[in-house]
Structure formats: C-alpha cells, structure tokens
C-alpha cells in the first residue's frame, strides 16, 4: 500500500468514510511513515475547519420562495404553432414542409376551381365510347350545349401575364380561333371516367386511348393542354361530335356517330376505334377534321442506338438504380410504348437531374440548358415524328402547359420547335420578342414553381401561340415538342434534398406525350394529365378539357376515384 493510497485513507477517516477494518493498517503505516504523518498534520486541521464551517451551513434551512414554488406547479402554457397542429409540428422538417405544401396546394385548388367556375366550358373532349354512358357526361352544363347548338367564334387571348381569356365572338376574324381553357385546378388520383390512361396496356398497344380505370396515384405534374382552332370555316369541333354531346350521349338508341349538325362537316367516322387510333384520320373527316398529333417515329428511333437519347426523353430519375430502370423500362415496353426501347433511362438523365439540383442550390441560374440540341433532335427523331394536320382554315395553334401547383422546386419547361413557316404570335410570361419559329430555332418556356405568377396566386402556365400561314396545307406540321418536363412533386423533391440525395422524381418522356396527343385531332381540347407517383412512375392520361365533368366533380369526389 503506497503513501498516496494511505493519504486517501487518511482523508476517508477524517470524513468518516474509512471502514473500521482498514483503520489498523492505516495506523500502522502512519507510525512508520513520516511523510504520511506530515500529510495528516496538514489535512486534519483543514478538514476540521471545513467541516466546522460547512456543516454549520446546514443549520440554515432556506426555503424556496412561494412565488417560485407556485411557478413549479403552474400549468405549462401551450406554445402556439401557427396553423399546424402539435403532432405535426413536432415531426421532422420535411413533414412540416409537406404540410405547408398541402396547404398551398389546397389554396391553389380553391383558386383554380373558382377560375373554372368563372369560365364557361367552351370546348369538349375527345370521343370515347365509355364517355357516352357516363352519367357525369350526361349532366353536362348547358354552356356546352349552347356552344354546340350555336357555334360561336372563340378566341384565346393570352396576355403577357398568362391569364387565359376565353370569350365568344360572333364577328369572326380571318384567323381561326383557338378555344382552350386552363387545366383543371383540382387534383385527381387517377383518370376519371372518360379519360385515357397510357398505362393501360391493351389500349396502348392498340394505339387507342379509350377510357379505362386508370391507376391511382397523385397528380403532381403539369397538364399539357392542346387546343386547336375551329369552325371559322365550318370546322366541327370535337364537342359537336355526337359521342361527346351530352344530350345525344344520354339518348338511348342514338347511333354511335350521327351526322353532326354543322353543314360543312362531312360526317363522323363510322368506327370510333378507328377515329381514336393515334394520328389516323377517320374516313369522311379528312378534309374538315384535321388531326393534330405528335408521334414518335419508331423508324427513326430504330435507327438510333438503344439508350442513346439523353433526358428528358428518357425518364429523368437521377437516383434510380439499374434494377429500377430495368423494371421501369419493362413496364414501358409492356404497356406498348413503341419508343420505349430507344429511351434512355440511365446516365444522361442522371446528369440532367444533377444540373437541376445545382440550380436549386445556387438559385442563380435562370434557365435550364436544352437537354437536346436541335441537331441531336433531328438526328434522333427524323420527321415525321410530329404529325400535325391542319385544315386550311386553321391557323393558330396554342399549346398551353398548365401547372396545377406552384409549389415545386423543380423547373418545368416546355420547349417547342416550330416548323418552317410557322410564326410565333406570343409566348406567355416572356416579355422579350419570341425567338425561333421561322428561323428554325426552338421556343422555350420555363416556370419555376413558387415564383412569379405562381407566388401571386395565379395559375402558372406556359403558353405558346403559333400562327400558320394562310395557305398552309392541311397536313402541315406545326411544331415539334422538343422537351417537356412537367416537374416532380415539390414535397418529395424537398424531402430528398434534405436527405442529401437531390433528384428529380420523373420527367415526362416524349413517349408519353406523343402517344397521348396522337389521338387528338384538330379541334380537340384535351388535358394531358401527367401523374407522377412518389416512386417516379409517370402516368399520362387524356382528360377532356373544359368538359362538363371537370366542372361538376368536386375535388373530394375526384380524389376518391
């Protein structure tokens, strides 16, 4: 036992901690060790005075003051957490962000529904067999009937702030009018009755887009609303086709396609399936009812090496694993995507996704560089991948991309390349004169969610108005969609950002767009709903724009479908 331990034992005895059994050993050591005895002589008086002073402190019994005592028992006042409930406010940041997004999305839903109600539906939808029996379709508002009974000229005025002004005007101008309306403001988890899902394999493989029970999933992307002019020279709009007419749809025994009431209309096709086949004009309608469609040329794609096309022609899911890509590609192929084999789901898209993330981080880059150059575009998609057929009186093509939610941190953009001879009337939100068009360049419009009009509460939209020449041949192609990125969900994207794995969930591919719109015909005004699920699945289905169903279906009811 060394002296250090002995001196500790010495202190233990002084403070009363030393066991009796160790006292003898301590005394024995002290008797033989002058150093430890010196230590004892130092410690003993010090401990004595410390004990004397400190123990005397215990004679005083201070009490906690009454005020402080009552404070202990005071009930804790709840801290106001703005409009979020406690259970939500205590969650992770991303969940709170999701709640914020939901609130804003709800605001936009209400806002856009109000906008819907303020505008009378002026255009009807594409012909679909099931839609004729849809009770909702039968309950179409009278506005649609009025329009069909007395065709009026409707012109879209796309002003610089992007507001859509649809009005009726009997004093028709020389230009063909374009009737369109913004996409529905309410979100729907899946295609409504009468809508078309491109993920329905049977319909997709057959090149037709009949109604089907579309897969459920959140609608998070933008809508591509295609509209074409009509009836300035007797053109019959789709709403005049019997299959869409509410009255005729509800009439039992009505022939599938009775003659349209417009004299100049040559008559509807005999077979609705033929009519709906992608990009194919039905017999008897070739002169008056033009088809405006965009379809990927499978021949051109066949010449392109597999997986060589960069995003966003592929699925721009940057962080997908190879297995995910294979599954996704197999799904595309299984659903009858003719161009799926040539769509790159891999490296190129990843690069693009990273670029987007960088822009999000820096907040300094205003535009996304074109993913695919015009030269590469021409190489990859040799004409005619856009099959636009216009009647000789149709001169204005308006392509509108409406965004359902302004809350997203991913830029959405649509890039068009007008064909030769096609002039650009205006591009919404773009103050400077539009470039491109006649010179063969591309038109590009990009929206960052949460900025500009989106932040002010208006519906963000990208709108292109292209004017074709007076003597444009009926089958003149109008424009090629170069890129279209409707963006992913802001919530999921934000969550991934916080996790350090920025990515864009999905990008609508050309396959989605082209096949969907190939069933449209001139005069059809349909909304192309892009559904991006949380796991990056892209689903597209056509929905009749400005149809009665949209105005009638409350959001809750739509969400249940």
């Amino acid at each position: 036992m060394n002296c250090h331990r002995i001196q500790e034992m010495l202190l233990e005895r002084l403070v009363g901690e030393l066991p009796e059994s160790d006292a003898a050993a301590l005394d024995a050591h002290l008797a033989s060790c002058p150093v430890c005895r010196a230590a004892e002589s130092e410690l003993k008086p010090a401990v004595a005075i410390l004990k004397d002073v400190l123990s005397s402190e215990t004679s005083a019994s201070p009490r906690l003051s009454a005020e402080r005592r009552s404070e202990v028992f005071r009930r804790k006042q709840p801290v106001p957490r703005a409009f979020l409930p406690d259970w939500l406010a205590q969650q992770h940041r991303w969940l709170r962000a999701a709640a914020g997004v939901a609130v804003v999305a709800g605001f936009f839903t209400i806002l856009l529904r109000n906008m819907e109600q303020e505008r009378a539906p002026v255009s009807s939808s594409i012909v679909e067999t099931k839609e004729r029996t849809d009770p909702l379709s039968a309950a179409a508002p009278s506005a649609s009937e009025d329009v069909s009974a007395e065709p009026a000229k409707r012109e879209l005025h796309s002003d610089t702030d992007g507001d859509v002004d649809v009005r009726s005007d009997r004093s028709a101008t020389a230009h063909g009018a374009t009737a369109t309306r913004p996409a529905s403001g309410h979100s729907e988890p899946g295609p409504a009755p009468g809508e078309t899902s491109l993920l329905e394999p049977r319909y997709a493989r057959e090149g037709m887009y009949a109604a089907g029970p579309g897969p459920a999933g959140p609608q998070t992307g933008g809508d591509l609303l295609l509209a074409a002019p009509n009836e300035s020279s007797g053109y019959t709009a789709a709403r005049d086709r019997p299959g869409l007419h509410p009255e005729r749809a509800s009439e039992p025994g009505t022939p599938a396609f009775p003659a349209a009431p417009v004299p100049s209309f040559d008559g509807p096709p005999e077979d609705p399936d033929t009519e709906l086949a992608g990009g194919v004009l039905p017999a008897g309608a070739k002169d008056r009812r033009a088809t405006f469609g965009m379809g990927l040329s499978t021949e051109a794609l066949a010449r392109t090496p597999n997986k060589s096309l960069p995003a966003p022609f592929g699925d721009m899911t940057g962080n997908r694993t190879q297995k995910d890509e294979e599954v996704h590609r197999a799904r595309l192929k299984g659903d009858g995507y003719a161009a799926a084999d040539a769509i790159d789901l891999g490296a190129g898209s990843h690069e693009t996704a990273q670029k987007v993330a960088l822009r999000e981080d820096t907040k300094s880059i205003e535009s996304v560089e074109p993913v695919l150059s015009a030269a590469a575009m021409a190489e990859a998609f040799a004409p005619p991948y856009v099959a636009g057929k216009l009647s000789d009186s149709l001169r204005t093509v308006t392509i509108t991309v409406s965004l359902q939610s302004g809350v997203s941190f991913v830029p959405r953009h649509l890039e068009l390349k007008p064909r030769a001879g096609v002039a650009v009337r205006r591009i919404a939100y773009q103050p400077e004169p539009a470039t491109g068009g006649d010179d063969g360049g591309t038109l590009r419009r990009e929206i960052w969610g949460g900025t500009g009009k989106a932040a002010s509460g208006s519906q963000p939209a990208m709108r292109f108005e292209l004017v074709v020449p007076e003597n444009a041949p009926p089958e003149m192609p109008v424009a090629d969609i170069v890129t279209f990125q409707p963006a992913a969900t802001g919530v999921s994207y934000k969550k991934d950002v916080e996790a350090g794995t920025e990515r864009v969930l999905a990008t609508l591919s050309m396959a989605h767009v082209s096949q969907a719109v190939s069933s449209l015909r001139m005069g059809d005004a349909a909304t192309l709903n892009v559904l991006v699920s949380g796991d990056g699945d892209v689903r597209v289905h056509l929905r009749p724009a400005a149809s009665a169903e949209e105005a009638q279906i409350p959001p809750s009811e739509g969400a249940d479908r």
Partner: protein, 191 residues
C-alpha cells in the same frame, strides 16, 4: 365533469402532492448546495426552481426511482448551477476578482491573529470558490450535505474511488489555501 376527467384531476392532485413532499424534503439542501455553487442565494432560488420544474413538468418525478431521486436532484442542480455560472460568466469573473483582492487584503483581519468564526467562514468560501466545479461539487456534497462516497458517485456518475481521489486533491488544495491565508499556526490553533 365525467368520471374520466375526475380521475385525471385526482391523478394530477396526487402528483402535485408528491411533488410538494419532494420539494419539502430536498429544497433546503439543494438551495444550500446551489448557493455555494453559484455564490448567490437568489440565483440559487432560480436554479432550484428550474430543477423542480424539470422534475415536475418534465415527468422525472415519475420516471426516476425514488431511491435515486436525491442523487438526481443534486446532479441536475449541479448542472443547472454550472449553466447559470456560464451564463453569468462576466459577473462571476468580477466576483472572483473581487474575491482575489479580498484574499490579498482581507477586510478587518490580521493575518497574524486567530481568525474569528465569520472570518474563517469567509476564508473557507473564498477558498472553495477557487476550486474547479468538479472539486467544489464533491467537497460540498461530502462535507456540507453529508453525502456518502457512494451517493456522491451516483450524483457525479463516477466511481467511489474517483470520488475519494477528487476529494483528496480538493482538500489538499483547500488546506494549502487556508494555510496560506491565516497561517498554519492559526489553522492549527483553530482546531
């Protein structure tokens, strides 16, 4: 009022009564202890109030075992006091500077004379103030509050051997300081 609400109310009253008893049992010791740590009785009131608030509102009075409650209270009091000292660092520095000056020139005292009881008390507390918090904690818990090595080990989450070692070093420091202040002879004479 429903029976459920009544039961809840009774539960709350019962809990408050337990807390009252807990406070009555420990508040004096904690206030003394905290007062020595923060060198202020009013600050000690704040410290101990925070401790009891944590104990009551934070639910520790329900989760901490009754046998360990005393150690828990002293441990949290120490942590609260250290936090308080850190917050009041500037004032503490001034206080220590003042204390140092007093050590060099004790008011009304003659280093050669035997110190009175009050003077001894002042000397002891000045010497205590110069210890580091860990040493001061052990000294106060053992020599003022009378906690055993085992209890101190529970409070400080150290071993009893470590507690003994810290106390040994602390007392040696105090002995040197006291000897320096009043002289070894006076200290011996006081005993």
């Amino acid at each position: 009022m429903t029976s459920g609400a009544e039961a809840s109310e009774q539960q709350a009253d019962k809990r408050a009564s337990r807390m009252e008893a807990l406070m009555t049992e420990h508040e004096s010791a904690l206030l003394r202890y905290a007062a020595r740590l923060v060198n202020s009785s009013s600050a000690a009131q704040d410290v101990v109030q925070n401790v009891f608030i944590k104990c009551f509102r934070g639910g520790y009075m329900d989760s901490v075992a009754p046998g360990a409650m005393k150690s828990w209270l002293f441990r949290v009091t120490h942590n609260e006091a250290v936090d308080h000292v850190r917050r009041e660092a500037r004032l503490t520095v001034l206080h220590e500077e003042h204390g140092e000056e007093s050590c060099h020139n004790p008011a009304g005292s003659d280093p050669g004379d035997t110190a009175s009881q009050d003077e001894r008390r002042e000397m002891v507390f000045r010497a205590l103030a110069r210890l580091n918090p860990r040493e001061k904690q052990v000294v106060l818990l053992r020599l003022q509050e009378g906690l055993s090595y085992r209890e101190i080990a529970d409070v400080t989450r150290r071993t009893t051997g470590n507690v003994g070692n810290i106390l040994h070093h602390a007392v040696k420091k105090l002995a040197k300081r006291l000897k320096k202040e009043v002289g070894a002879a006076n200290v011996s004479g006081m005993t």
